[in-house]
């Protein structure tokens, strides 16, 4: 070979390969995710152009040109963007409704307590037995504070309750009341006894087939007809009963899904050990099934929270209703209703979004055992 003759030739390495393109770091991320190939790049340019065109306009309206002071004259000047003054002026009516002005510390304290219990019950530290008496005590304190008429507190009728406290009360109380009903109905739908199964199925399908608004109409218009003469219940209680029965049907379906996912062997094993039906359900089936459906129940709660806005149609002034209450009667501020809507939309969003984040966390917790 030629190599042997030409001894003077030294070893010549071939040119080094180029360093591999980085796959980490912000530059690489932009290259891969925004300019991966020509369709992606084109899409980035198109969407980016639209965003660059729209964002400044939105920001200018919502922030730079906005009027922040509670002064409606300032909002009517030409060229002024959003009028956040409406929130600054009316926030107490929007958030607390028609509750007597001097007493408004009461719903604030009571709702803070309720929220503390709700948020607390979502963390591991509260998952003990003492949480039940704590809840009972919290509810007693809540209603004492809200209704008054004892301990020198002025009596405040339920028709003056409103705003965010009412929204939170409706959602959380209906959910708590619906849970035991849903559990019984879910068990009933899977029972061996045909009559009980039929009753539960008819209830669930009937309620799930009609809109909540018709249930609320029924609670507010027809309920008085259903009861014996002279027997009257507060409209708030009627609405809570309506929402509870509605929510229970949906929750029963969720729980049934969990029950169905329990392998038959578990029940057979329990029968072998000599456990009765209720012992089997209480000690074997329900603990497993309920742990499985907690995220879905959370989703139920989120939609229930949003659905409470419907009670404004039967004249209860929760958050949505309180906004109309605050602005409809005031000609000075009525033109700035959209800012008010955006404000309460933000409140709803904050609640629902954090709850959906929590539901994702619970799902991860529940799956920990399976992800060893």
């Amino acid at each position: 070979m030629a190599m042997n003759e030409n001894t003077a030739q030294t070893f010549q390495p071939i040119a080094a390969r180029k360093a591999p393109t980085a796959t980490e770091g912000p530059v690489a991320w932009v290259r891969i995710n925004l300019f991966g190939d020509w369709t992606t790049a084109l899409m980035t340019l198109l969407v980016g152009a639209v965003l660059l065109w729209m964002l400044p306009q939105v920001l200018s309206w919502a922030v730079f040109r906005a009027a922040w002071a509670p002064d409606y004259e300032a909002c009517r000047v030409d060229g002024v963007g959003a009028c956040w003054g409406v929130v600054a002026e009316k926030y107490r009516i929007i958030v607390l409704g028609r509750y007597p002005f001097e007493e408004q510390w009461r719903p604030v304290v009571a709702t803070s307590l309720l929220l503390f219990m709700l948020v607390g019950s979502c963390t591991r530290a509260f998952w003990k037995l003492w949480v039940l008496p704590a809840w009972v005590a919290a509810l007693v304190i809540y209603f004492t504070l809200m209704y008054g008429n004892v301990l020198g507190l002025e009596k405040v009728e339920t028709d003056r309750w409103g705003g965010l406290p009412l929204t939170i009360l409706l959602a959380s109380l209906s959910m708590m009341l619906a849970f035991p009903i849903a559990m019984v109905v879910a068990l009933g739908r899977r029972s061996n006894l045909p009559a009980i199964r039929t009753v539960c199925t008819v209830y669930v399908e009937l309620v799930r087939g009609v809109p909540l608004i018709s249930v609320l109409f029924m609670a507010s218009f027809m309920f008085p007809l259903f009861m014996p003469v002279g027997f009257s219940i507060d409209v708030l209680v009627r609405v809570i009963i309506g929402i509870t029965l509605f929510a229970a049907a949906y929750m029963a379906e969720v729980i049934r899904g969990g029950l169905q996912a329990i392998p038959k062997g578990q029940i057979e094993a329990a029968a072998t050990l000599g456990l009765s039906y209720w012992q089997t359900q209480r000690k074997i089936v329900l603990p497993q099934a309920l742990a499985m459906v907690v995220p879905s129940i959370m989703n139920n709660f989120i939609s229930l929270f949003k659905d409470t806005s419907l009670v404004t149609i039967v004249s209860l002034y929760e958050l949505t209703g309180a906004l109309s209450l605050a602005l409809n009667s005031d000609a000075n501020w009525r033109p700035f209703k959209i800012e008010g809507y955006l404000f309460i939309a933000l409140i709803y969003f904050a609640f629902c979004f954090s709850m959906s984040r929590y539901s994702i966390w619970v799902e991860k917790q529940a799956n920990k055992g399976r992800m060893r």
């Binding site: 061996n192 799930r208 018709s214």
Partner: protein
Amino acid sequence: MSNTSSPKKTAWSWRSQAFRGIIYQLLAIGAVVLAIWFLASNTMHNMQVRGIQSGFDFLGDPAGFDIGESLYPFDSSSPYWNAFLVGVLNTLRVAILGIILTTLIGTLIGVGRFSRNALVRGLCYGYVELFRNVPILLQLLMWYLLLTDALPFVTEALQVGHIFLAKGGLVFPKPIWEIGHLFGALGLVAGAILGVAYRRWGYRKFEQTGQLRSMFWVPVGIFVVAGVLGWAAAGAPADFDFPAKGDFSIEGGGALTPEFLAVLLGLTLYTAAFVAEVVRSGIQSVAHGQNEAAAALGLNPGHVMRLVTLPQALRVIIPPLTNQYLNLTKNSSLAVAIGYPDVVSIANTSLNQTGRAVEAIAIVMLVYLTTSLATSLFMNWYNARSAIKER
């Protein structure tokens, strides 16, 4: 449930499970019957005391109120049942259009969350979180306010071509009905039959010879060409009723009221966020190995999507999608809050005029129950068709 070995003969003793079962059931039925009897007798008694008339005979009386929009002629002298029919048609109109639009938008956004483009991914995620975390009622109210407040007056309507948008709603050109359109429709029907026949023939050929023919574009082409031919054969009528700006209003053309637009927009955009999540979870549920295996067999990406991914994803998608359709239909009842004359709104007006709460609410519930049951029957049929085929 725990004990399936029931004794052969029912023993009349508390120790027999079958006997206890009968007692429990009798108790349950008894409680239900008692509750219904209690409610019914109270209602009867209350009605007598308050002098409320009952019965559905009021449906024949003249309604005495006008309805803002209806698909067929209605005036205040028409009977109540006519008013209810208008309401049902309005509900169905907004629900059916909403279901079609929400499926399209929701699918696009759901698929968009798998985009290779981070900007598109982020926007789709933002859309879903934004729209599903704000109550639908609030969204409807906001759309209605935007459509009635923020838009210019009719005299300064926004105009794109022959389409006008103003406080009074959306006005658009409407084709003038002629016999030629009927021919076009007949052509489309013939095209559909021919297209299906072509597909059948194509499948047979494929099984005999293994030659793959275009199974989508050729049938679609046949369908379109047949329709155009039928329309052209009748002289190709293409007259439109163009709306024109008058002094105080926009005249001519077809029109959509702001109420209808607000309900449609609100329902569609809200439900689309949920549909997007359903589609996303459906696509995610198909194991990645399936795609790789299909690619290894030499299928192109279109075929992988159509023949492998979608059929499996649909099984996961259809049941929750049905729920979303039902939710959209039920949520259309919120139209009452912004004055769109759907069935709830009509029932509400009738209730206030005649005082027959029980009957009016019963009609509303019946309408929604029927729609819900019909939708779920159809979707169950479709679900059974696409369900996994096991021996």
